[in-house]
C-alpha cells in the first residue's frame, strides 16, 4: 500500500488524536494494527495512554471504516467496543504470524517516525485552507452564465467574470507554491467571489436582454413588415426616384435578414438587422411621403379646378373632361354629371408637374381641346390635342428657369393629347393621356374643339384611399 494513500485515508482520525496526545520520551509506545474491510492491514503508532482519553475518536473511526479487529498495546481487541474482548498478546500474534519474535528495531522505528508525523499533522491542522466552496460556487455561476448565452447578451459581464476566475486561479496557484503555513487564500477567495457575483449578474442580464431583444426584434419586424406593405400599396407603383426605391429594396432585404436571424433565435442579430432595415425603409418612406405631401399641397387648387370645370359643364350643359392622374381615371361630364369614365395610361414620370419637354410628365392645368385628329391623322389611333402650354404654363416655366429648376436650355414642350392605343398595362406615353381605342372612339365623339379638359394630380387626399396608380402587373384598366 502506498504510504501517501494510506495516510490520506486514515489521516483525519490520526491527526485529531495526535494533536490531543502528548509524547514523552519515556512513554511506552504501543503498536496498533488495524484490519479494515476490503483493505490491507494498516499500522498505527500510538501512545497507549492517549487511547483511553480519545477512545471516542478511535471508536468513530473504526465504526466508519468497519474495522474487523485492532490490536491495542500488546493485545488484540475486537473493534466493536460493546462486544466482549477477545485478545491475544501482540508478541504472540507476531510470533503466530511470522514465526519469529517481535524485533526490537520495530519499536525504535516507531520512536523515529512519530515526531515527524506529529509535526506534519500539526502543520496540516493549522495551515490555511483553500476556499474550495467559493471556487465551486464560481464554477457553477460561470457555467450558468455561459448556458444563459451571456456571451451574446451580456458579453462584457461574462468576460469580466471569466477574467476574475482566471485571476482567482492564478492567485490560488501562487499561494499553493508557498509553504503550507505561509499561505493566504484571501485574495483568491475575493477573486472567486467577484467572479461568482459577475457571472450571476451576467446570467441575469443575459436572460433579461435576450427576452427584451426577442420582443424588440419581433415588434420591429412586424412594424417594418407593415410599413413595407403600406409602402408597396401606396407608393411602390409610383414613379418615385430610383435611388429611393433602391434604398427601400435594401431595407426590404435587411428586413428579411432580420427575420432569418430571428428564426434561428439570434435575437441580437435580428435586432441589429431590423435597425438597419428600419433606417432604409423609413428613410425611403419618409422621403416619398415628404415629396407626396409637397405634391398634394396642390390638392385644394386641383379640387377647385375640377369644381369650376364641372360647374361650367352644369351651367352650359356642355361636355367637360376631368383627368385624375393619381386615380388614372378620365371622367366626362355633361350638364355637371358624369356620363363616361375611362381608365388611362400616362407617361412613366406621371407623378408631379410637367416641367420641360421630354420629361415624360403629364401637365396639370385647365386646358381646352385645340384640335381633333381622326383615324389616320394621329400616330396613336385618334387624338384630341390640348392647348398646352397655356399662359399659366408659360409663366410657370419661366419661373422654373429663373429658379434653376430646369436648365436654361430647356424647352417647355407641347403636343399633349388624349389619344388611343392605350390598355398596355403600363405608363408608357411621353406625357399624353392614352385610352383604349374603343373608349377613344367614345371620347372622340363626345368632345369637340374648345371642350374644357382639366388635368389634376388628384381629386382625393393622399390618405383617402388614394394611390391607385398603375404598376407593371396591375389589374386591367
Amino acid at each position: 500500500m502506498q504510504c501517501g494513500t494510506f495516510l490520506a485515508d486514515r489521516g483525519f482520525s490520526l491527526s485529531v488524536c495526535t494533536v490531543a496526545g502528548f509524547v514523552r520520551r519515556n512513554q511506552t509506545l504501543r503498536l496498533y494494527l488495524i484490519q479494515t474491510k476490503n483493505q490491507e492491514p494498516g499500522i498505527l503508532f500510538w501512545p497507549f495512554n492517549c487511547f483511553r482519553s480519545h477512545g471516542f475518536c478511535m471508536q468513530k473511526y473504526f465504526a466508519r471504516t468497519k474495522s474487523k479487529w485492532i490490536l491495542v498495546g500488546n493485545r488484540i481487541v475486537a473493534t466493536n467496543f460493546n462486544q466482549s474482548i477477545k485478545s491475544i498478546k501482540l508478541r504472540e500474534l507476531w510470533t503466530k504470524l511470522s514465526g519469529t519474535n517481535l524485533p526490537q528495531w520495530l519499536l525504535w522505528l516507531n520512536v523515529a517516525i512519530f515526531p515527524m508525523l506529529l509535526i506534519l499533522f500539526l502543520v496540516l491542522e493549522i495551515a490555511p485552507k483553500p476556499p474550495i466552496v467559493k471556487f465551486e460556487q464560481a464554477l457553477k455561476a460561470l457555467s450558468q452564465a455561459r448556458n444563459a448565452e451571456s456571451r451574446v447578451y451580456a458579453g462584457e459581464l461574462l468576460k469580466a467574470a471569466e477574467l476574475c476566475w482566471d485571476k482567482a486561479l492564478k492567485a490560488w496557484r501562487k499561494e499553493n507554491q508557498k509553504f503550507l503555513l505561509s499561505r493566504d487564500y484571501r485574495v483568491a477567495q475575493y477573486l472567486a467571489e467577484s467572479s461568482t457575483k459577475l457571472a450571476l449578474e451576467s446570467s441575469s442580464k443575459s436572460k433579461t436582454s435576450k427576452e427584451s431583444s426577442k420582443q424588440i426584434a419581433s415588434a420591429q419586424i412586424s412594424i417594418l413588415k407593415r410599413q413595407v406593405e403600406e409602402f408597396k400599396s401606396q407608393y411602390y407603383h409610383l414613379p418615385v426616384d430610383n435611388l429611393l426605391r433602391k434604398e427601400f429594396a435594401r431595407g426590404e432585404l435587411k428586413l428579411k435578414e432580420s427575420e432569418f436571424a430571428y428564426i434561428r433565435k439570434d435575437y441580437k442579430q435580428a435586432v441589429a438587422k431590423s435597425k438597419e432595415a428600419a433606417f432604409f425603409i423609413e428613410k425611403a418612406g419618409a422621403s416619398v411621403t415628404e415629396s407626396m405631401n409637397d405634391y398634394f399641397d396642390n390638392l385644394p387648387k386641383w379640387q377647385r379646378w375640377a369644381k369650376e370645370t364641372i360647374a361650367w359643364s352644369a351651367a352650359t350643359d356642355s361636355v367637360a373632361i376631368v383627368v385624375d392622374k393619381m386615380a388614372h381615371v378620365c371622367q366626362v361630364y355633361q350638364g355637371g354629371k358624369v356620363i363616361a369614365q375611362y381608365s388611362i395610361e400616362l407617361g412613366p414620370q406621371w407623378l408631379g408637374p410637367k416641367l420641360q419637354r421630354g420629361d415624360k410628365a403629364t401637365p396639370e392645368g385647365q386646358y381646352r381641346i385645340k384640335k381633333k385628329k381622326g383615324a389616320g391623322q394621329s400616330k396613336y389611333y385618334k387624338a384630341l390635342e390640348i392647348d398646352y402650354p397655356n399662359g399659366a404654363d408659360l409663366a410657370k416655366f419661366r419661373l422654373a428657369k429663373q429658379n434653376g429648376d430646369v436648365p436654361s436650355s430647356a424647352q417647355i414642350g407641347g403636343l399633349i393629347e388624349i389619344h388611343g392605343d392605350g390598355g398596355k398595362g403600363a405608363n408608357w406615353t411621353s406625357g399624353c393621356v392614352a385610352l383604349k381605342n374603343e373608349e377613344m372612339d367614345e371620347m372622340f365623339d363626345l368632345a369637340s374643339v374648345g371642350t374644357p379638359i382639366t388635368i389634376v394630380g388628384s381629386l382625393k387626399a393622399l390618405s383617402n384611399g388614394n394611390g391607385n396608380g398603375s404598376s407593371l402587373a396591375k389589374s386591367d384598366k
Binding site: 501517501g4 517516525i113 495551515a127 448556458n147 456571451r151 490560488w172 429594396a249 435587411k254 436571424a261
Partner: protein, 205 residues
C-alpha cells in the same frame, strides 16, 4: 546501538521514498486541454456549436480547479488522478466541439453557396423576363423600378459572397436567402405582367 543506526537509516530511506513518491501536477494535460480549447475557439465552435463549446469551457475550468485543489494539499496527500481524468475528458470534448463546429460550418457554407447559386440563376431569369415584360414606346422606362430592385439583389448576393469568402457563413446564408426570396418575388411580378400581356394579346385577337 546497532539497532538505533538501523532505525535511523530506515527512517531516512522512508522519508526519501515518501518525497519521491509524491504525485506531480498534470501540466502536459493542462496544456493539451487548453490548446484544444483554443483550437475549438479558432474553429468558431462558440458560434456554430455554442452549447458544446460552453461545456468544454466548464469542464476545463473544473479540471483546473481540481488541479489547484490537489496543489493545496500537503505533497504526500496529492492525487491528480481525478484532475487528469477531467482534463482528458475536456480535451476529448474540445476536439469533438472543434469537429462539430467544422461540420456545422461546412453545412451552413454549403447552404449559403447553394442559395447564392440559386439567387444568381434567379437574377439571370429576371433579366430574361424583363426582356419579355410589357413595355410601351418608351422602352425600358416602366421596368426601371424593377431594375433598381434587381440591382440591390445583386448587391446583396455580392455581400453574401464576400461574407462566404471571409468565413462568415451565417451572414452569407442570411444574405443569400434574403436575396433569393426577393428575386423570386421580382420574377413572380414579371411573370404576372407577362401573363397579363399574353392574355391581352389573345383577347385582342
Amino acid at each position: 546501538m546497532k539497532a538505533k543506526q538501523v532505525v535511523a537509516i530506515l527512517a531516512i530511506v522512508l522519508a526519501m521514498s515518501m518525497m519521491i513518491g509524491c504525485a506531480k501536477a498534470p501540466q502536459q494535460d493542462v496544456d493539451a486541454a487548453k490548446a484544444a480549447l483554443d483550437a475549438a475557439k479558432a474553429a468558431e465552435a462558440d458560434r456554430y456549436v455554442p452549447a458544446q463549446y460552453n461545456a468544454v469551457k466548464d469542464s476545463i475550468d473544473a479540471a483546473l480547479a481540481e488541479v489547484e485543489r490537489q496543489n493545496s494539499k500537503f505533497a504526500l496527500f496529492r492525487s491528480y488522478g481525478k484532475a487528469q481524468k477531467k482534463l482528458q475528458e475536456a480535451l476529448t470534448a474540445a476536439n469533438a466541439a472543434k469537429d462539430a463546429a467544422a461540420t456545422e460550418k461546412e453545412k451552413v457554407r454549403a447552404e449559403a453557396q447553394d442559395l447564392i447559386t440559386k439567387a444568381q440563376a434567379a437574377v439571370e431569369e429576371s433579366k430574361k423576363l424583363m426582356k419579355k415584360a410589357p413595355r410601351g414606346k418608351e422602352g425600358r422606362a416602366a421596368l426601371e423600378a424593377i431594375q433598381s430592385d434587381l440591382t440591390m439583389v445583386e448587391t446583396s448576393i455580392t455581400e453574401a459572397n464576400t461574407a462566404l469568402t471571409n468565413g462568415d457563413m451565417l451572414t452569407a446564408r442570411d444574405k443569400a436567402k434574403a436575396a433569393f426570396e426577393k428575386v423570386n418575388a421580382i420574377n413572380q411580378e414579371l411573370q404576372d405582367a407577362i401573363a397579363k400581356k399574353a392574355g391581352l394579346s389573345k383577347r385582342a385577337k
